[in-house]
Symmetry: C2
Subunit: 89 residues, 2 copies
């Protein structure tokens, strides 16, 4: 194979359970003001999707883990979840 | 059953394809500066997770759709995806 195949990574980053989630709180109150009063446990997170060159899913996941620890997430206050898939191409 | 069961909704909101994604671009360049030069197509989105009282998955999805159109997403510039599941409890 001439080039390294690319894997599509989706990282979801959320505030750790128990930590304040001011954005989630704002959405909870806005929904209640609009009449959705039966909504609970609102949590807001971030997703980062990208393609990375990697031969295997495990290699792609290891790369993504390193990126999360180094720049994408703040492991002190955030949890992250990595999903590895194939690119559409 | 005395109370309406709750469904756990996860909404993922992303800039529409083709629109500028400045946050994704910033991450792309930061990763490249750290040596991850084989990363492409970085897109940043938002996830909103919440529990809503609904008898069926379809009813929960319809509620979430209405919330997306009204407040969670900006349908002019964003796409959204709704996943309905059960709450842990």
């Amino acid at each position: 194979m001439a080039t390294t195949p690319a894997k599509r990574i989706t990282v979801t980053i959320r505030p750790k359970a128990g930590l304040r989630d001011p954005e989630g709180n704002a959405i909870l109150h806005a929904l209640a003001a609009l009449g959705w009063e039966d909504v609970e446990n609102v949590h807001v997170g971030k997703t980062v999707t990208f393609d990375v060159g990697a031969d295997t899913d495990d290699a792609a996941r290891a790369e993504a883990e390193a990126m999360c620890r180094k720049i994408l997430a703040n492991p002190v206050i955030e949890d992250y979840e990595i999903v590895v898939g194939d690119t559409g191409s």
